[in-house]
C-alpha cells in the first residue's frame, strides 16, 4: 500500500543502519514511547541491526498494559451484570484481572462485545434502549478524542443508557515521572507520532529543555524508526537537546486543533494510576462535571472495588524500560500469550508480546 510499503524497503533500512553506525562513537540508551513502535522494532529486526553502542528500551506507551488492575476488576464487575452490554477494544478482552478476564465473563454468559470504534458502542446504545451500554474507554491522547466524541454524541442523542469506564493516560507526565526517577537511564526519546498528531509537540519542548535531552517525534514504519534513531543519535553525539520531528507527513507542531477542542470540552486532567508504576500526577483524564452522568464508575457503584498487582509480574519495570521482557523469570514459561501473568504479554502493543512473537521466531529460525 502506498505510504506504507516505501517505508519498509530493506535496502533503505540498511542504508540508515550504515549512517547510524557512522555517527555513533559511544554508548547511548534510547526509549521509544509507543508499544506500536516496539513491535515494529522487534518485527523488522531493527534491534538486531543496530550497532552495539545503541540500546533501545521500551516505553510505557501500551494503553492496555498500563490500565490498572483496579479498573479491569471494575470492568469485570460491570460486565457480569444482567442488562449490561459491555463494549471494549479487542485488546482488552484477554487482559487478566484479579481472578478472570472479560473473555471468560463472556463465556459465562456476560454480554461482552468487541467494538472497532467507540461510535459503535454509541450505536449499540441507540439500538438497545432497554439495556445499559458501557464502553471501556482506555487509551492515550490518540484514542481519547474518539472516546470524547462518543460521549458528546451520546449526550446530543440524549442516550440515558450509555456510559464509559475511563482509564485515559497522557504521555508527557509519564515521561516526566521516568526522567525524575533516580533509576532513569534514558538519554533520548522517540516520541509517539500518533499521540503528537493529536496533541502537537508543544508539551515536549519544556521537558526536553529541563532534562537537556533530545526528543524525536517518530513514526511507526521501519524507516521512520531508523530515521528517528539517526536523528536522536546525531543530537546526542553533537550534545544538542530539544524536540525534532521525523514524522512530518502526519505531525504538525500545533497538532489536531478540533480534536484538542473536543477533548477539553469533555475531559479534564486528573491524577491517574498506571499499572505496575503507580499514581502519576495529572497523567489522566476524567469526565468534566457537565458530563458526569456518563461515568460508569458512579452509575454502577464500583468505586469501592480495588485490587493489588500480582507479585510475579514485573510489568512496572518493563513499562519504565528498567528491565527487558527477556530478563523476566516468568517470560515464556509461566507467562505466555495464552496464559499471561500481566497485560504486556497480551496486548498487540505490549513489549512482552513483541519479544514472545518476534524474538522467539528469530531464535527458532537461527
Amino acid at each position: 500500500m502506498r505510504f506504507v510499503d516505501e517505508y519498509r524497503r530493506e535496502e533503505d533500512a540498511q542504508a540508515f543502519v550504515r549512517a547510524i553506525r557512522t555517527r555513533v562513537t559511544r554508548p547511548w540508551t534510547l526509549m521509544e514511547i509507543c508499544g506500536g513502535q516496539t513491535h515494529t522494532l522487534l518485527k523488522s529486526g531493527i534491534d538486531r541491526m543496530l550497532p552495539p553502542e545503541i540500546t533501545l528500551v521500551h516505553g510505557p506507551g501500551c494503553p492496555v498494559c498500563v490500565t490498572p488492575l483496579t479498573q479491569i476488576d471494575r470492568a469485570l464487575a460491570i460486565a457480569r451484570r444482567p442488562g449490561v452490554i459491555f463494549t471494549s477494544f479487542g485488546d482488552m478482552l484477554r487482559v487478566p484481572g484479579s481472578t478472570t478476564n472479560l473473555l471468560s465473563v463472556k463465556a459465562q454468559g456476560g454480554d461482552v462485545r468487541m467494538v472497532y470504534s467507540p461510535l459503535d458502542a454509541v450505536r449499540l446504545a441507540e439500538q438497545n434502549p432497554g439495556l445499559e451500554v458501557v464502553f471501556f474507554a482506555v487509551g492515550f491522547e490518540t484514542t481519547a478524542p474518539a472516546n470524547a466524541m462518543a460521549v458528546k454524541r451520546a449526550k446530543k442523542l440524549g442516550l440515558p443508557n450509555f456510559s464509559i469506564l475511563t482509564s485515559h493516560v497522557l504521555v508527557p507526565p509519564a515521561i516526566e515521572a521516568l526522567l525524575s526517577s533516580p533509576a532513569n537511564r534514558v538519554q533520548a526519546f522517540l516520541l509517539a507520532g500518533h499521540v503528537c498528531a493529536v496533541m502537537g509537540t508543544s508539551e515536549y519542548g519544556p521537558l526536553a529543555a529541563r532534562y537537556r535531552l533530545p526528543m524525536v517525534v517518530t513514526g511507526f514504519e521501519p524507516l521512520d524508526l531508523l530515521q528517528g534513531i539517526h536523528m536522536a543519535v546525531s543530537a546526542l553525539e553533537e550534545g544538542r537537546f530539544g524536540v525534532e520531528n521525523q514524522y512530518t507527513r502526519t505531525v504538525t507542531a500545533e497538532g489536531n486543533r478540533p480534536a484538542q477542542a473536543v477533548l477539553a470540552e469533555i475531559f479534564e486532567p486528573c491524577d491517574s494510576a498506571w499499572r505496575g508504576i503507580g499514581v502519576i500526577p495529572k497523567s489522566g483524564y476524567r469526565l468534566r462535571p457537565a458530563y458526569a452522568a456518563f461515568d460508569a464508575t458512579a452509575r454502577f457503584d464500583v468505586q469501592d472495588i480495588t485490587a493489588d498487582e500480582p507479585k510475579e509480574c514485573i510489568a512496572g519495570e518493563i513499562l519504565q524500560g528498567r528491565k527487558k521482557p527477556s530478563g523476566c523469570a516468568a517470560f515464556g514459561t509461566r507467562c505466555t500469550p495464552e496464559h499471561p501473568l500481566g497485560a504486556p504479554m497480551v496486548s498487540s502493543e505490549g513489549a512482552c508480546a513483541a519479544y514472545y512473537l518476534y524474538a522467539r521466531a528469530a531464535v527458532s529460525s537461527a
Binding site: 505510504f3 535496502e11 487509551g139 474518539a146 466524541m149 498528531a197 530515521q227
Partner: protein, 70 residues
Amino acid sequence: MPMGVVSFGGVTKEVCFAYTPEVVPGDWVLVHVGFAISRLDEEHALEVFRTLKELGELSDLDVPQPARGS
C-alpha cells in the same frame, strides 16, 4: 456527524471526519479507532528519502516518485 468511506489497501470502512474537516476525497489520512486524525502530507512523505540521499546512501533512481500509486 461527518462520516466518509476510507479504503485501507482495498478494504473499505466507514470513518468519522469530525476532526479532519479539511480532508477532500482522494486524500490519504491516518485513521485511529474509526476517526481520521490527520491528513497525510504527500510532500513531507518523501522527506525520509531526501535524507537518505543527503547521507549519500540513495541514488536518484531510488527516490520514490509522488505520482506512483499502488
